[in-house]
Symmetry: none
Subunit: 192 residues, 4 copies
DNA sequence: CATGAATGAGGGTTCATTCAT
DNA sequence: TATGAATGAACCCTCATTCAT
């Protein structure tokens, strides 16, 4: 029997395996087996294993960036925007933890290869921080530091969940995390 | 010339290479060459490449955990303890960014292999949060969530530095980061 | 659009590619692409890549052999026959250098597979030499050696042209080459 | 038991196999097996299969060129020099027909990769022809054509021997072949 | 005990051929 | 019938590990 929908099955299997064991820890043979497809079939859709990993990562990364950018584009107070962004991250995590873990794992290896066109998730957050400073909603802070703090809160929480330190979906925690993120940025700017 | 201090040279070279390209991206041959020793010599000190990576990681991880535990053991207010811990992280990063990057990179792969005896850095932070709650210094929060928020702020900042989004040493940023961390934990507990 | 003349297009593309990069250096996919047909279509005309190469070679080889045999069949003095044969080779080369190169390249691989029915080009030359000896036009020589000498002169000249050591069409050189060939055979038989 | 003299055994096995079936027709596994060596061992001496083939070819090709150049450097009449060169080719063939066949087979593929420093065998022959013209020993001819004719006579004879059309060693045929070669060059220059 | 060549399993990739559409 | 994606065996190569020197 010949396999069909090769790309979908390969993508799904690859993300699951990459998330579980890292790109280098997974062989093409395993991906093909998990996808129920011959090894060679994979090469009709991707030129190499590297391209497979890079495309999966870039797609997810840029899609997330675009979604956050859309959220950030709304004319809303800082707190509302950050809350929406944090909630969006939590929803992404809940919907597909494997994809989230893949992105966290692979970023060190694959992020440098992305030709950043301002599509990075962090760019949306940094823009929100910059807007808030310009609108005097928050005290002036290094926008890079501000976005690091916000992303760190969200991503580390996701990581703790992946490692089993936190249970249940993340969405219910979104409001608390958003408050933490906002408070953290404000704390950053406090010069007592 | 007979090589001496083989282990030290291997450890140093391995950490630098692992930090730069990941454990899987570095071969034994490269480590041996960088250390200026023969490949075979490496096997007098480690039984395998996996053991090398695992021991390097475990050593650094546990040492950091112990240092943080010591800081946390002091009878000090929450804010003082957190500030000291954050400053400690910043100092570690400034002293040896490669080791820090190695730990961040390798944690996903190597952390599960560590038989956690309460030596994890996060344990010290979680204990500090728990103490603060018990002492009614802060509102009650999920201690896992509290420590996630604190670690996230610190680690993501380090990551941004590694990626060139932030410049200069981290120690001067320690106070601001500590304020952000404390505010974040407090924000987490706000139930408006 | 339904492709027509599939075989012609495949044959032409295959010869050009085989000549340029050798049989092993060219894939079915490339041939099909160059011919503007689907890969599968190729298998309606040839059972395998090997058969494609073998048939192309055998066709060209046997056709050349038949043409030379026809030339040799004419009742003419040795010198006239050799001159006509050499001129024929030169004309073949000038008309289709790719086919000539393909034959030179592929002979080592594909000649052994041909069930020689006296159709080899060399057979015609050898016959001409034998006839000349029988007619006492030339001194007796090993006919194999004689034909080797004649073919070597022609083929090596063609090769030099393919490699850019010689320019312009070969036909104008035919007379000189024929003189060389005849002289060589005579030289072979000299027993000073 | 660990293998030693890897390079020698690999070189010998590779030449024999390449001569028999062509570079592309032989796998690394076969070479290693024929040499009695592990596949990986080969890569300590050559970076790739391509480099193995290229080095074997270049070594043999340049060595032959140097030997012919030495013969050609002697102050001798044209006929003596050509005779010596032809005899040298015959001796090379008799000594190692496999190497000779390898060079004939591989030239189309590997010659272009050699950075010719005037070491080509043909260069020596061409120089001898040019000298003879300058010394008015022979009528003026295109030196490329002259060397083509000489090489063709020798190489095609060797080829016929490889294909079983000629028997016995070539050295006894050297004088006759040399006479043929000299006569051919003279015939080339005849403008009757 | 250090050395570094040899080992050999396993990796990613190619490609002649098949076959469902 | 023509198509071109799927197949899967075989290829070249890497590299963690071993071991004769």
């Amino acid at each position: 029997m010949r396999a069909t929908h090769v790309k979908e099955k390969v993508d799904h299997a690859a993300i699951a395996l990459f998330a579980a064991r890292g790109v280098d820890g997974v062989s093409i043979a395993e991906i093909a087996a998990a996808a129920g497809v011959a090894q060679g079939a994979l090469y009709r859709h991707y030129r190499s294993k590297d391209e497979l990993a890079a495309r999966l990562f870039a797609d997810a990364y840029c899609r997330t960036g675009a979604e956050l950018a859309e959220i950030g584009a709304a004319r809303q107070p800082f707190e509302v925007r950050i809350t929406a962004m944090v909630a969006h991250f939590c929803a992404l995590y809940d919907r597909d933890p494997a994809l989230f873990r893949f992105m966290l794992l692979a970023q060190h290896e694959l992020l440098p290869a992305i030709d950043d066109g301002g599509v990075a998730p962090v760019a949306a957050i940094e823009a929100a921080v910059a807007d808030a400073i310009a609108a005097r909603e928050i005290a002036p802070v290094d926008t890079a530091e501000g976005s690091a703090v916000i992303m760190g809160i969200v991503l580390q929480t996701a990581l703790f969940h992946l490692y089993g330190r936190l249970d249940g979906p993340l969405v219910p925690r979104a409001l608390a995390l958003a408050r933490a993120a906002i408070a953290a940025v404000q704390g950053l700017g406090d010069s007592r």
